[in-house]
Amino acid sequence: MPQPFRIAGASGFWGDRNDALLDQVRGGPIDVVMLDYLAEVTMSILRMKMMRNPNQGYAGDFLKALDPALHDIVERRVKVVTNAGGMNPRACAQAVVELARKKGIPGLRVGLVTGDDILGQLDTLAARGIALENLDTGGAFSTIRERVLSANAYLGSEPIAEALRAGAQIVVTGRCTDSALALGPLLARYDWAPHDWNRRAAGIVAGHLLECGGQGSGGNFAGGWEQVPDLANLGYPIAEVEESGEFVVTKHSGLGGLVTPPVLKEQLLYEIGDPRAYVTPDVVADFTSIRLEDLGANRVRVFGIRGEPAPEQLKVSVSYQDGWRNAVALTFVWPHALDRARATERLLRARCEKRGLDIDEVHVDLIGVSGAHGPLAPAPREEPNEVLFRMAIRTRDRESAKRFGEEIAPLVLSGVPGAASGLLSGRPEESVIVNYWPTLVPRDSVLASVEVLES
């Protein structure tokens, strides 16, 4: 029987473990490592970094992960596919080439996928009559046009496959779907036909299981976290994909973690909407068709997956400036900690009014009692020993948000008694809210392009 094609996950977001890549490369035989760095929040942060420095705007953590692993990657001929390019994939790809030169690795071929950044085309699109209205709320684009910071279309797997076919060993993209990081290498390996929707859907499902790193192999597992071995050395998931599209999810045996049907179910359901239609630029996958079979020893067979034709439109993630926020916090101790926290809320509201702060919205958390779940949390049965009072605000103008942060420290001397430190700074700084505007554009308005750089 031919060897399956082994894809290993090594990052689930920007901020994930940087040593997972080396663990995956050294832990056993694999063909490709995929590293996802981009969440909805990430692109706007990267945009702001790039505005400050045109050589920034990508997930620099990728270089930190790659540095200690690059020699092994080259020696073992493992391919690496990542969307670490973020807002600035060219700078990221060049940094990889530079790293290879510095490490004395000549001839490393680095694929670069661009074309997702359509910020410069928004007015042309509008002139074509494309509304760019908010996919979730139906809101009109004109309400945010002047405050737009970035606009990136979600690319699919084809440009990744093209870069690999052109001989790239490392492929860097900007915004592509997380799951394309798996389907791209599969298309390059197996040449599945463009209308082979079922196998493409299988590739997307494999990608969905790998795109969140450790969450696909026992991390953040609510269905029995006590039984997951050695989270400190968590082995991220690996998909062994057959040409038929069937695959087995597993992990390297020398590392921690757990691969069982309940673990995979949690990840399959993560961040999805209608399971019958998981929409990607490559295919619409039907998650109600997915079958799991426990093979034991951290191996689960995944099969039966069906797909429907890819959509005519591509999703675009627009980010825009949407006001300011700030938050203050203080810890109150027994007795009557809750009463004193509530009194502090009233006190702060009165101070905001006296100081003339223009506040749109106030939110109060009583952490230790109802912080995470608000009205869903039951009333405490007895006096808590302590409560962390947190008050957060949203404003239109920066000054109000800034001055709100000045109101917490004085309460230690001029407020109600029994306040310890509040975890947050004594004078917390305001931060800009960069919000997210999902929309759709016609497929033909986005042109991906592929180049290969070389060290």
């Binding site: 609510a222 999805i272 399971p275 997915i290 939110h363 995470a372 999902p438």
Partner: protein
């Protein structure tokens, strides 16, 4: 007979814009019909109350013995704008598992909580 949903199911929650989705997975195959019968979209909407401003949709995945709930307008404007402690609603799965449900007398359920 009544039990806490935590004893029957586990859950993972995530965000997409201002929507929170909660995947609810039966701990044993025989618990799945109980989830389908007891954990309706209406009950979930009622449980989240003012914290979920829009409708709740429910989707069935009998192949995984699981339900997927999509809570619209449940994240205070979305993770990027939210003032809440849990901006992404990652803990909302546990909030759902607090629900009390009716189970058949004959069903053997291990008490986990």
């Amino acid at each position: 007979m009544r039990t806490v949903l935590y004893n029957l199911a586990h859950a993972r929650a995530g965000d997409k814009g201002d929507r929170c989705n909660i995947g609810l997975i039966a701990r044993r195959p025989e618990f799945y019909p109980v989830l389908v019968r007891e954990v309706t979209a209406d009950r979930v909407k009622h449980l989240f109350g003012e914290w979920c401003k829009g409708p709740v949709e429910r989707f069935e995945l009998p192949n995984l013995e699981a339900l997927n709930f999509v809570l619209h307008g449940a994240l205070d404007g979305g993770a990027l704008a939210s003032l809440r402690l849990d901006t992404q609603g990652k803990t909302y799965g546990f909030a759902l598992l607090r629900l009390e449900v009716e189970i058949p007398e004959a069903l053997r359920v291990e008490t986990l909580i």
